[in-house]
């Protein structure tokens, strides 16, 4: 009987050991699989472009200060002594620059003084060497992260980067025998068992760092005996498979250490920046003890939550370190006296969300969404956050102003409200500096710059006029008389915006005053197919039919394509590809993707210049002349646009340095009862006034192949003394009028004789 009992017991024991061995083998495989694969999902981060500062540069101080705050600079009263500190004086900024790190540039941070005078930078000088700096580049600004489901921020650190006092602080707080046990501290477990038996509930875990790691990686938070057994087995396996320092490194990168809005702060690397704005290697003993103390209950002991609680927890950790003789009495006392100074944080608001959507469309052609949320890529863009903020502000204020001026534009439902969109580009490089695809991203994510199809109206006319330059000149006369055209067998009778008495008008004046009748006349003489061909060459992707109404922009375009088309005039005839992405770099700083400016010549510099001069007349004397009293006094070329029944209002304006397109309208096509000049242009003016750093205020350079001729404003022929309002007009070389004005040629008798003689000699 006893024998039988022993036999069965042994059998059960053998079976149990075999089962345990098999189960352990299974867990071993799991550990191996989990740890040999990628250990963490690191979200990819999107950055803005860097910011250039140079002496003489004009600045909008509020936007610039906002920029510095967004870059994480902390205002201090003393002379900045650490990276990220800034002292703002009445006429100077003292900044201890952060490190600059892009795939193309690397620079250690250093202290610098930027003097300011009359809203412009005076000098830039290093504070450590007094060296003058001709041009300074500020680091790119983080715009967003591609989070996965976990929404975790983590900056990985290697164990070599972690200072010894931080390792000891973590051990003191969580597992002081870490280097002595095999993953499970039996003394700790016994202590926990006794406590739990005494209280009748599971209160104390007695977990080692390895157990915590096993729990985080493989187990649910449920407190059960089976889970505890599993945790013990896993811990032993981990200890068998990995060295102590490797386990410690994984633990320090894994551990949850707080919350930034909806995003979890994981790992000491991220926590070090989140709480103290510095890398782990620069943490003081006190700061290390604070971070170690957080592990127990990160939000409870957070310095952002309760400074006194944080203080007592830090002190407890420091006392424990002293107890284990890891720090001296002096070190203890110094650390205990150190005031807790967390750097503060801004919960990342959604910056430039429409730009990000536009960028993401392009990124998705290169990377899978799951890669973007896990591979920890750094994505560098062309976005200028100062321009973006200025554009958002100008649009928001402009739309509100329109609504307040006209109650009929007000709508109750947020999704029905008056909409607008802005894109700002550098015409020479194609860099998209700002993109605002709508009024409120949280209400509507529809991107009205890249996804909308709207009629451009008169904003398309420059393409018509450009198409005509091979046959016409700026002084060619056009009929501004009403006519009836046949479109698809139906009569079509275009009208001017308002009745005019000029029945014959020069080409440049027709564009300047945006006359519809003269433009249709020009289009018919130029050839509608030719105009459509020009539009195709300019990369308009929407269907454009050779109907007479094409002259008035009565077809749909994608706004960003319209902006891109105008770049050709600003960029001496070359069209850039619109760029939002500059480059992608992996975690090891290896460049994966680079996008450079890419240009294509579409027209000659002379044609571009002649068009620009005519579009400058639009701003000086034509439909956009109100820009001047809105403060835009520097050379600008541009065109307004208003569509049928006031459904769309446009203004596209440019200088040699910058181009911006503004659209205003309702999504459902309701009339906005305002022209491009009244609705879109003021927004453009506000935007340009807010970004003085992008204004060189230089005029457009006249290229070869252009002639400047003074013509009679009445006849369009070369002006003679006596011509009323002689005007400078730019012609393509060889196309300028050769005859003097016949109407005001008051040569009298002598002149007539000369002409007669000339005729005679010519006749001979």
């Amino acid at each position: 009987m006893l024998k039988r009992f022993i036999k069965y017991t042994l059998l059960i024991l053998v079976l149990a050991i075999a089962a345990l061995a098999i189960y352990s083998g299974y867990l071993y495989a799991q550990v191996e699989k989990r740890f040999s694969a990628r250990r963490w999902s690191i979200p990819s981060t999107v950055y803005s472009d860097t910011t250039l500062l140079y002496p003489g540069q004009h600045l909008d101080s509020s936007l610039f200060n906002e920029k510095l705050a967004s870059l994480g600079y902390r205002q201090v009263r003393h002379a900045p002594s650490q990276k990220g500190e800034i002292r703002i004086g009445p006429d100077a900024l003292d900044i201890f620059l952060n490190d600059l790190k892009t795939p193309w540039t690397r620079r250690e941070g250093f202290p610098v003084r930027i003097t300011l005078s009359e809203a412009a930078i005076g000098t830039i000088r290093r504070m450590d060497s007094a060296e003058t700096i001709p041009i300074l580049e500020l680091e790119p600004e983080e715009i967003m992260q591609f989070f996965g489901q976990e929404r975790e921020r983590r900056q990985l650190v290697s164990i070599e980067q972690v200072p010894e006092h931080l390792i000891r602080a973590v051990m003191a707080a969580e597992d002081h025998r870490f280097f002595e046990h095999f993953g499970v501290d039996w003394r700790g477990i016994l202590r926990a068992v006794v406590t739990n038996l005494r209280t009748g509930a599971i209160r104390q875990g007695g977990s080692t760092l390895t157990q915590q790691l096993a729990k985080n990686y493989f187990l649910t938070p449920a407190r059960t005996i089976t889970r505890k057994i599993k945790e013990v087995i896993l811990s032993v396996i981990i200890e068998l498979k990995y060295g102590k320092r490797e386990i410690l490194e994984i633990y320090l990168n894994e551990i949850y250490l707080g919350q930034k809005g909806s995003v979890a702060i994981n790992g000491i690397g991220e926590a070090s920046y989140f709480y103290f704005g510095k890398p782990v290697k620069h943490l003081t003993l006190s700061e290390a003890a604070i971070i170690a103390g957080l592990i127990k209950a990160p939000n409870h002991y957070s310095p952002y939550r309760d400074i006194a609680r944080c203080n007592s927890r830090r002190d407890a950790v420091l006392q424990a370190m002293h107890r284990w003789e890891w720090i001296t009495e002096t070190e203890l006392q110094t650390a205990l006296q150190e005031p807790i100074k967390a750097v503060g944080f801004i919960v990342a608001e959604s910056k430039a969300p429409y730009f990000i959507d536009y960028l993401t469309e392009q990124l998705n052609t290169l990377y899978r969404p799951e890669d973007l949320s896990s591979l920890g890529l750094s994505i560098y863009t062309t976005l200028d956050t100062q321009v973006q903020r200025a554009a958002e502000k100008a649009l928001a204020e402009g739309l509100t102003r329109l609504e307040s001026l006209n109650a009929e534009l007000q709508r109750e439902a947020p999704e029905d409200k008056l909409q607008g969109a802005i894109v700002v580009m550098q015409p020479k490089t194609g860099h998209i500096l700002a993109l605002v695809g709508g009024r409120n991203y949280s209400v509507s994510q529809f991107n009205r710059i890249s996804q909308a199809r709207r009629q451009p109206g008169s904003a398309f006319k420059p393409i018509v006029y450009l198409s005509s330059l091979s046959r016409f000149t700026p002084t060619s006369l056009l009929s501004n008389d009403p006519k009836t055209y046949t479109v698809n067998g139906e009569p079509w009778e275009p009208q001017n915006f308002e009745p005019v008495t000029e029945y014959t008008v020069s080409l440049k004046d027709a564009l300047k005053k945006s006359y519809n009748l003269a433009t249709v006349d020009l289009a018919m003489q130029t050839g509608l197919e030719h105009i459509v061909d020009t539009a195709r060459r300019f990369h308009f992707s929407t269907p454009i039919k050779p109907y007479p109404s094409v002259a008035l922009g009565a077809f749909e375009v994608v706004p960003i394509e319209l902006a891109r088309a105008y770049c050709v005039f600003a960029a001496e005839g070359v069209q850039p590809f619109p760029l939002s992405l500059k480059g992608v770099v992996d975690e090891n700083d290896k460049i994966l993707e680079q996008q450079h400016l890419n240009i294509e010549r579409l027209i000659t510099p002379a044609e571009a210049f002649v068009m620009t001069r005519m579009l400058q007349d639009v701003v000086k004397e034509g439909t956009a002349r109100s820009l001047e009293w809105r403060g835009v006094t520097w050379p600008v070329a541009g065109k307004t646009g208003t569509t049928n029944d006031f459904r769309d209002a446009w203004f596209v304006g440019y200088t040699p340095d910058i181009l911006a397109l503004v659209w205003v309208g309702f999504d459902n096509g309701d009339p906005i009862k305002a022209t491009g000049a009244a609705a879109a242009l003021p927004i453009w003016a506000d935007l340009m006034s807010a970004i003085p750093q992008y204004r060189s205020e230089a005029d457009f350079n006249m290229p070869d192949g252009v002639e400047k001729i003074v013509v009679c404003s009445v006849t369009g022929q070369r002006a003679v003394a006596g011509c009323p309002g002689p005007t400078e007009v730019y012609f393509l070389a060889g196309r300028a009028p050769t005859e003097d004005c016949p109407l005001h040629d008051k040569g009298g008798f002598a002149g007539k004789i000369i002409k007669g003689v000339k005729g005679l000699i010519d006749g001979n």
Binding site: L597, S696, D704, E707, K708, R718, G748, A750, I753
Partner: protein
């Protein structure tokens, strides 16, 4: 003889008439030297231009160091600050040549030609660069 006499009379009348006839307004051409010198001098005072020249120099050094991608980045910044500086386009063309992209090199070479036409020394360099681009295209 009679015809010659009439011709002389007509020439005298022509000279007198020319003095009396209405004068065409002064016409200008792009080669107006005074205008371009003033513009150039004004540009040198412009802070954007001064900053841009620093970047142009950096870009040149990067091209010379055989780092075309880095050079393109810096020269893009230079162009954005001072689009009229033809040297930026010359070095951009050089960087694209280095990368083996003839079509982009050609576009920038043409821009360099437009902006550097007044500088004899530079225009020779631009022409030589155009030859190298043509070679690459072959």
């Amino acid at each position: 003889m009679g015809i010659k006499f009439i011709q002389i009379i007509l020439v005298v009348l022509l000279a007198a008439g020319l003095a009396a006839c209405p004068k065409p307004m002064l016409q200008e051409t792009p080669s107006d030297a005074a205008e371009s010198v003033t513009a150039e001098e004004a540009a040198k005072e412009n802070p954007r231009v001064v900053a841009s020249l620093q970047l142009t120099d950096q870009g040149r050094r990067l091209v010379e160091d055989g780092k075309p991608d880095n050079a393109i980045r810096v020269l893009e910044q230079a162009v954005s600050l001072h689009p009229a500086n033809g040297q930026n386009y010359y070095y951009l063309a050089e960087a694209w040549l280095m990368k083996g992209y003839a079509s982009q090199a050609k576009e920038f070479n043409q821009l360099a030609e437009i902006h550097l036409k007044a500088d004899r020394e530079w225009i020779i360099r631009v022409a030589k660069q155009a030859d190298r681009i043509t070679e690459l295209e072959k």
